[in-house]
Amino acid sequence: MKREIWQRLGQRIVFLNLSRYLALIILFVIASLLAPGFLSLQNVMNLLRSFSFLGFISIGMTFVILSAGIDLSVASILAFSGVVLGLFQHWGIYMGHVDKLSLIFPTPYIFFSVLAIGTLLGFVNGLVITKLNIVDFAATLGMMVFARGLAFAISGGRTIFNLDDLALFMGRGMVGAIPFVAILWVSAIVVCTVILRYTIFGKNLYACGENPEAARLSGINPIFYKIAVYSISGFFAALAGICMAGRLNLGEPRVAQGWELDAIAAVVIGGTSFAGGKGGIVQTILGVVIIGVIRNILSVLGILPDPQEMIMGLVLLLAVIFGSLGTRKGSLAHV
């Protein structure tokens, strides 16, 4: 009986996705109590910026997980695109620490080509999964190792220092008081939300995610959507890569190691189900923000990185357990 009450409560909470908003608000309160400056414009903007990078790949990841897939390769693609950007801006010179720029072609084109490359890698993921029918996990695991290796190989493992101003603007630029990255990110959120809620593409994507066979018999082509989502994921990874490189002012093959897991965690904390077909961008953003804020709080508390990780792990675990309460089958059904 007692358990049922819990279940019902849980169901209501989960249904309204309230628990997460609640958690977020509580976090904000705690934070602003701990650090008076927390809600200051300055800090909020910093937070926004720090969310954005993880945020980008989380958006891509959302698409993938909605289609009942998983993409382990995002972080590697991110690093790879950063390196490519660096190389394209130091074209011809002996790779490595040179401060003289030599663009292969104007920066905007470089951006486009990097984005294209990222998308292509994602596309390859989709192709491998659908055409060679390999499980998403394994296929993207392969791409993860491959792309990271590629990033190291083309840069010879070196850090490529100094990018041009446009690239820096992507990462560091401010529009008024607002970081440019944040603007980019928020607009990406808006666009993707619209795509998912108000276009046939979105609806069909959800359908394919939940039940590919049924989708197929209703005249939808699941293969197309599979490939599409991975391409999207690749695109956002590349975008994040460009911004990250701009922020660090270097192309670094070691960047963002393990971020794919953070992104997945964010998506799941947000309440998008591994089983596919359930969830959305907004939830994901929630997850990203929650994770980011917790990290920030821990830093503000002056907790050093290592214990931070530990606490982070615990908090995530609790968050997930709480999210799973009530729903009989659990919020993240076994795939």
């Binding site: 070196r158 050093l304 990185p305």
Partner: protein, 315 residues
């Protein structure tokens, strides 16, 4: 089928043997800790050049700061039949057992840049502790005579370089006359990498904000990263100090900005020494004069930076 296979193998082995016989060049191995900052790259370059000059063949393997990979590297170097080893050990003790094994096989080991625990032919590098002390002196005498809060960014815990450079500096702070004046706010680990240096500094800023008076990094790459982070946060009054004498660092010191000091630790020099010691020992049976070859450590500040700065140098 099987017969054919065996035959094939036999032939190949024979051919290989012949090839081996022709190659008179002596083969040495260099198990390098990582390639993630200019310092290591310079070492890599120097090693190859010196070896070539000395008429030796060298294989450089990069452990990516993973001790278990380094052990595996050393093992595969042995398989390739190197006659001597240069090791830049990831952690001070981690390579001890494998070094013991190598020694047992009669392969001499030269430790470079980072002292390691075990029976080695020679160690070539700076006196890490002294480098730390020099910086400590500078802080207490010049930069923060009145005392202050210091953020420490080291490479890897357990890396002898970090231990020496860190403890050396701390030992000065712990002197009776400085007791209580200085506080280490936190110690961050950035594995000698500029990007990580920047990210860790950002975390430190988030944690301690304006409390920070000075950032002391175990090498210049991380210091440069930290510098970038500080500049992004607009904290231009926080002082920065590094070690190694990377030319970008010189440039910063030259500007006379918040980047105050570094200590020369010339990768090219130590690598050249190490390689020649090993090759001489192997070819001409020359025992190194002293077991610990300590290269010069000079504190570089705005006063003497002009003398050493060379924009076109490798490092």
């Amino acid at each position: 089928m099987k017969k054919k296979l065996l035959l094939l193998i036999g032939v190949l082995l024979l051919a290989a043997a012949l090839l081996g016989a022709q190659g008179k060049k002596i083969l040495i191995g260099f198990s390098h800790v990582a390639m993630n900052c200019p310092y290591y790259l310079a070492m890599d370059k120097a090693a190859k050049e010196t070896a070539a000059a000395k008429g030796a063949e060298i294989i450089v393997l990069n452990a990516e700061e993973d001790i278990s990979k380094q052990i595996a590297d050393i093992e595969s170097l042995i398989v390739k039949g190197v006659k001597g080893l240069i090791v830049n050990s990831t952690t001070e003790y981690g390579t001890m057992p494998i070094i013991k094994k190598v020694k047992a096989m009669g392969i001499p080991v030269v430790a470079i840049d980072r002292p390691l625990y075990g029976d080695y032919l020679a160690y070539v590098g700076i006196d890490q502790w002294k480098a730390g002390e020099l910086q400590g002196e500078l802080f207490t005498k010049k930069l923060l005579p009145a005392g202050g809060n210091i953020v420490l960014i080291i490479g890897d815990p357990g890396c002898p370089a970090s231990i020496g450079r860190g403890n050396g500096m701390i030992s000065i702070l712990d002197r009776p006359e400085n007791k209580g004046k200085y506080k280490i706010l936190g110690t961050y680990k950035a594995s000698y990498n500029q990007m990580l240096g920047m990210q860790k500094m950002e975390e430190a800023i988030a944690a301690f904000g304006d409390k920070i008076d000075l950032v002391y990094c175990a090498n210049d790459s991380m210091a440069l990263g930290a510098l970038a982070a500080l500049q992004n946060a607009g904290m231009t009054n926080v002082l920065v100090a590094g070690i190694d004498g990377q030319k970008e660092a010189y440039a910063e010191i030259l500007k006379g900005g918040q980047y105050k000091s570094t200590v020369i630790n010339n990768p090219t020099e130590i690598t050249q020494k190490a390689v020649s010691i090993l090759v001489d020992y192997l070819t001409k049976k020359i025992q190194p004069k002293e077991r610990n070859v300590i290269t010069g450590t000079v504190l570089i500040t705005a006063d003497n930076v002009k003398k050493v700065y060379d924009p076109n140098s490798v490092f």
